[in-house]
């Protein structure tokens, strides 16, 4: 654990007189290592450590009887502030909330769409199966919809951006107050697929655009988040698979480079496994 490593660092320095700024800077190397091991992006770590250094060389640390713990506290607090002090929820916009879900292949979008629908069931949601490429993707969403008794709209042989008009029409005619659209996984460097996403957004005019990302994403998290955000101006991020033991450094990277909030987290494969994002819990996890 970082706390123990820092304690060890400072134990070695005991009896060498008062703690100096240099001692703290040396200790911050352990923090840097912990953040990199937690998959926080290299550049993000650099800037984060520089920020923390200012606070870490303060008197509370230099005069503390347990400087290691003080430093952990400084880093933890800075992480929490950076990740977003309070939890940020999905906003509902009467009379019709429109949520667009996007992200890389296999990140957990289709499952997350179903989880969101269940959470917001009181809005009488309509799901739109906009992945026309992956074998059985539409079936997958229909199976999930059936489990929840929530209707799934799909227009065979239609491009996703063309499906929207009928979907919105159906939603209005049937008293749905929420539409959630699932899209195909795509690479941020696939120009045709990113262009499709832009067309989908223009046709759908979502009130909420969510990037679904895998919590165990490594250094590439920055690039992925920046590209999706640049093109779509996302409203928030949903991090999935946090029921594993990924430290989740991607959370910090994505939050810092886009400034967008992490709104929810996926914590399992079941339809109930969606939770609100708590910055302090993720901060503790990153530092573990």
């Amino acid at each position: 654990r970082l706390g123990d490593k820092l304690q060890h660092v400072f134990k070695k320095l005991k009896g060498e007189g008062a703690l100096t700024e240099k001692n703290v800077v040396d200790a911050l190397r352990e923090v840097r290592l912990a953040l990199l091991e937690a998959d926080v992006n290299f550049q993000v770590v650099k800037e984060f450590i520089a920020r923390v250094k200012e606070k870490a060389i303060g008197q509370e640390v230099l005069r503390s009887i347990s400087p290691g713990q003080q430093i952990v506290k400084v880093v933890h607090d800075e992480l929490v502030v950076t990740l977003g002090r309070k939890t940020s929820e999905i906003s509902l916009t009467p009379p019709m909330t429109r949520i667009l879900v996007c992200g890389l292949q296999g990140s957990g979008k289709t499952t997350t769409v179903a989880k969101l629908a269940r959470k917001l069931k009181s809005e009488n949601p309509l799901l739109v199966a906009g992945d026309i490429y992956r074998p059985a993707a539409v079936t997958q969403l229909k199976v999930l919809g059936k489990q929840l008794d929530i209707p799934v709209f799909h227009e065979p042989d239609a491009k996703p951006e063309k499906m929207i008009r009928s979907a919105v029409g159906m939603a209005r005619d049937n008293g749905h107050k929420l539409i959630i659209m699932d899209t195909a996984g795509r690479l941020h460097v696939d120009p045709d697929m990113m262009a499709e996403l832009t067309r989908v957004k223009e046709a759908f005019k979502p009130t909420e655009t969510l990037l679904v990302a895998d919590a165990m994403t490594g250094q590439d998290a920055v690039r992925i988040a920046v590209e999706f955000d640049k093109l779509l101006d996302v409203d928030g991020i949903i991090l999935t698979k946090l029921d594993g033991d990924a430290r989740g450094g991607a959370a910090l990277s994505m939050r810092i480079v886009t400034g967008k909030p992490i709104k929810m987290i996926g914590v399992g494969e079941k339809i109930t496994d969606l939770e609100v994002f708590h910055p302090d819990r993720i901060a503790s996890r990153i530092l573990d």
Partner: protein
Amino acid sequence: FTRSRKLDEEMFEQLEEILIESDIGPRMSGRILGDLRTAVKTNKVSDSAGLKALLQAEMIKLLKSPPAWNHNSDGPTIILIIGINGVGKTTTIAKLANHFLKQKKKVLLAAGDTFRAAAIDQLKIWAERLGVDCIAHQDGSDAAAVCFDAVTAAKARQVDILIIDTAGRLHTKAHLVEELKKIKRSIQKVEEGAPHETLLVLDATTGQNGLLQAQVFYREVDTSGLILTKMDGTAKGGVALTVSNELSLPIRFIGLGEKIDDLTDFNPREFITALFE
């Protein structure tokens, strides 16, 4: 002399950044650069280009000489595909089947993911496109039973290759790791030496968690090789190097897209060169 020393240190820092940003991980990067410093002394490297070339050569050595495939000499070769959720197992199985079909092998698939919505449908569509059979039960049926039937069918039909799909599962879920062991035991009831290959699928965008995944699956179900998917993105897949080296596991294939032909044999030189691009 002092000036060139400083350049070297800065060069080492630049190299460390490249390695860490490729998801090799800070500890492994440190180890690789430590070995590089030793190699620099014996190789008398004098400039940054020479240093980079030496590093690439050292890293290629870390990945060379994989053992031969464990083929079954008298019966179907049974390949079990495992990995965490969403890494690309099902799609990779379709690509692998295509790869073996091109070698004129007779291939059979098994829909061992009986849990996830439309998982069986997904593999069946691929099987249909490839013109191969797919052994499947109902949604929610026992995965081990499907695999038992699949191996029985593979032997009866005298296929060359049986590829078994399994549900995505996090290595942290003990009951799901147990299920994998049960699947292996069921397979072994029908064919003692099976599965002949247990391939772990890793997503190239995964960070250091890939190492934890691999360690658990290696220890618990005796993984024999790796497949690295989604290398058509911008991630370098460096964690696969760390896994391969630490567990002595060969990387067999690279996934480069979502289509049936998007699978290539792993080439260490290409992999390392791409890492530095």
